[in-house]
């Protein structure tokens, strides 16, 4: 298993950098991921999306459909790409500390 240093601690990650221990996530982890993608400050808009994703995952065991994310946050897809450089699946889910979506999605 690969490891990654985020905000001073070491975490198990997959080969694409997604956290494997969801319960060890902290807001500092999200900030550290963002910094790796050259986003140095997380705005309220970032947190709206990150928190929604994370809570939805914890409740349902899966990331929400993009359509739902758009509806719930009020951000359209291009806005989401502005906020998260690699997009909702590759960046936002990663920053929220949930595993990479797999299985024909």
């Amino acid at each position: 298993m690969a490891q990654m240093k985020l905000a001073g601690d070491t975490y198990e990650v997959d080969e694409n950098g997604f956290m494997q221990e969801t319960d060890r996530w902290t807001e500092d982890v999200a900030r550290a991921y963002a910094a790796r993608e050259n986003v140095n400050e997380l705005t309220d808009e970032h947190w709206t999306a990150v928190n929604y994703l994370r809570n939805y995952y914890l409740e349902n065991g899966i990331c929400p459909m993009i359509r739902r994310l758009i509806k719930e946050t009020g951000f359209n897809l291009s806005k989401l790409y502005q906020l998260f450089p690699e997009g909702p699946a590759q960046s936002a889910c990663k920053w929220a500390g949930v595993p990479k979506p797999t299985g024909c999605v």
Binding site: A2, D14, E15, N16, N60, G61, I62, M65, I66, R67, R68, K71, N76, L77, S78, K100, P101, T102, G103, C104, V105
Partner: protein
């Protein structure tokens, strides 16, 4: 790369890769994708990854969890397990599913090499020897002859066909079995019907069933998750229903038409099994079928049983046990609902697993009639119950043929009759029909994304497909002219999503992709606003 690779090289050189991918050696792409320096970079392994991972084939890793032996004993144990697996593949008791076609493919190859020119991966790679379909098959044949047949070791020495079986051989062989799309273009062109794809698949099966090695996306997060929670996506029954309820509302509003998707209707005529990935990532597909089935007055239902709302069956790619379990689950759900038939959604390998392979697994009352979505949709479109206005689809459209539906099952014309009727600017790509090229995601590859595997899929496996798609629209290269690639298969769509994203195809060529149902709904007179859109609102 261009050095002549010998069959025996597979066992030599320890941890060093046999070849590496260089973009300037791959087959050229048409403009505006032709400049190598403008193509997306091929992600190389880092020094840390090279140290930690088994990466001795081609600098690409599809399975980071491939174990490294800690000592000589452990290495010996793996090699012995491999030999034991080889013997099982050749025995009636352990391989009743595929023994006969496997033996035919092992024994009848005339070594004419005709199949090589049919392989999209070999061609796209610039004819890299490693990806020659017969490279893999011939090594397997020699290993079988030497280790699984009487007197094999002696004969192998005598015939100078000796391939050493060691740690390097089996790990490279594992990865090499996942450099094939199982598209069976080679089998179709072979004068003797030798099926290299079947050989690749049986090698995967050996590794999965005997050594427990299988891509995590196919096994641990694939079939295992599907049987446990309902879908490899992790989609649980209540979340699936909740999602569709949400989509019914969303699209009712977006299209200006009332949409209601029925669930768990006992005694319905039709159980429709979509892929859960379509519900999540390409919801226009499932929604289209809700609209069309309702409009045509069909007595139909979806199922919210665990596994009943996801028709994928990754077992077909790598493991007979998992294949049988998933297929049986699907049939049991239909039986309990008491439906007259099952219709398989827009998913190619679901067709193969459930329509052909499962015919040998499902017996008696479980052998419920199963129909392809292609003929089902054709009946709906030509039923006269829905009014269409084809001028709503007046944009260039081409069709991708999913290998498992078209080459494997011979379902070629129904989808074309629909497109000729509903899409005034429909055009074929070359070659098409049963001679099509795989999207590059076939054989389970489209869901695999470990380490740098997506780079290989986008650059090599999907290369000829990308070329075909661009060429099919050569009369309208301008991105301002909006074009639609119809790809009626979830796995194909996932692969197109990766390729389109890598090469920025939507931005540079104005092409989007989607299913077949969407084109039918988009042409309906009754919808107030178009379903197919190139830009976000």
């Amino acid at each position: 790369m261009k050095k002549r690779l010998k069959l025996t090289d597979i066992a030599k050189g320890g941890d060093a890769p046999l070849t590496e991918i260089n973009l300037d050696e791959l087959t050229p792409l048409p403009p505006p994708y032709d400049k190598v320096e403008e193509q997306p970079e091929f992600k190389r392994l880092t020094e840390e990854q090279k140290e930690r991972l088994v990466c001795n084939l081609d600098g690409v890793v599809s399975y980071a969890a491939l174990p490294k032996p800690k000592n000589k004993e452990e290495e010996k144990k793996y090699v012995e397990q491999f030999v034991s697996g080889l013997k099982k593949l050749l025995s009636k008791e352990n391989n009743w599913t595929f023994l006969q076609p496997l033996l035919l493919s092992l024994d009848y190859c005339a070594r004419c090499q005709t199949c090589n020119e049919a392989c999209p991966i070999y061609l796209a790679s610039g004819k890299n020897e490693l990806y020659r379909p017969t490279y893999r098959s011939e090594i397997f044949r020699r290993l079988v002859n030497k280790y699984a047949r009487p007197g094999g070791k002696f004969k192998a020495k005598l015939n100078r066909e000796d391939i050493e079986l060691n740690w390097t051989t089996i790990t490279r062989f594992y990865e090499l079995s996942y450099r094939c799309n199982l598209c069976r273009r080679c089998a179709q062109i072979c004068p003797l019907g030798v099926d290299n794809a079947l050989i690749a698949r049986e090698i995967r099966k050996l590794f999965s069933q005997e050594l427990g090695w299988a891509p995590k996306e196919l096994h641990e997060k694939g079939t295992v998750l599907q049987l446990e929670v309902g879908s490899p996506t992790g989609l649980r029954p209540n979340v699936a229903m909740d999602n569709l309820e949400f989509l019914d509302e969303e699209f009712s509003e977006a299209l200006g038409i009332e949409i209601k998707t029925p669930w768990d209707k006992k005694g319905a005529d039709v159980l429709l099994i979509h892929s859960a990935g379509d519900i999540i990532s390409f919801p226009e597909g499932p929604i289209s079928f809700s609209v069309l089935c309702n409009a045509a007055g069909i007595n139909w239902t979806l199922s919210s049983e665990v596994g009943g709302y996801d028709g994928v069956n990754y077992g077909v790619f790598y493991d007979d046990f998992q294949l049988a379990k998933v297929a049986t689950r699907h049939a049991q759900i239909a039986q309990e609902l008491g439906v007259k038939k099952i219709v398989m959604g827009e998913c190619g390998h679901q067709h193969k697993a459930f329509m052909t392979v499962a015919d040998r697994i499902l017996t008696g009352e479980l052998n419920i009639p199963r129909e392809s979505v292609m003929t089902f949709l054709e009946d709906i479109v030509f039923s006269g119950k829905i009014k269409f206005d084809p001028s709503k689809n007046n944009f260039p459209v081409t069709l991708h043929d999913p290998c498992n539906i078209v080459r494997n099952l011979g379902i070629v014309e129904p989808q074309r009759r629909i497109l000729r009727y509903l899409c005034p600017q429909f055009r074929e790509m070359t070659p098409h029909g049963i001679d099509n090229y795989c999207c590059g995601g076939g054989g389970g590859l489209s869901v695999m994304s470990d380490v740098n595997f997506t780079d290989w899929k986008a650059h090599v496996a999907g290369r000829l497909k990308l070329k075909q798609v661009i060429d099919a629209f050569a009369d309208h290269p301008d991105p301002e002219v909006k074009k639609y690639l119809c790809a009626p298969c979830l796995n194909c769509k996932l692969q197109f999503r990766d390729i389109f994203d890598y090469y920025k195809v939507k931005e540079r060529s104005g092409i989007i992709f989607g299913g077949l149902g969407e084109l039918a709904v988009n042409a309906m007179v009754d919808i107030k606003k178009p379903l197919i859109k190139w830009e976000e609102e």
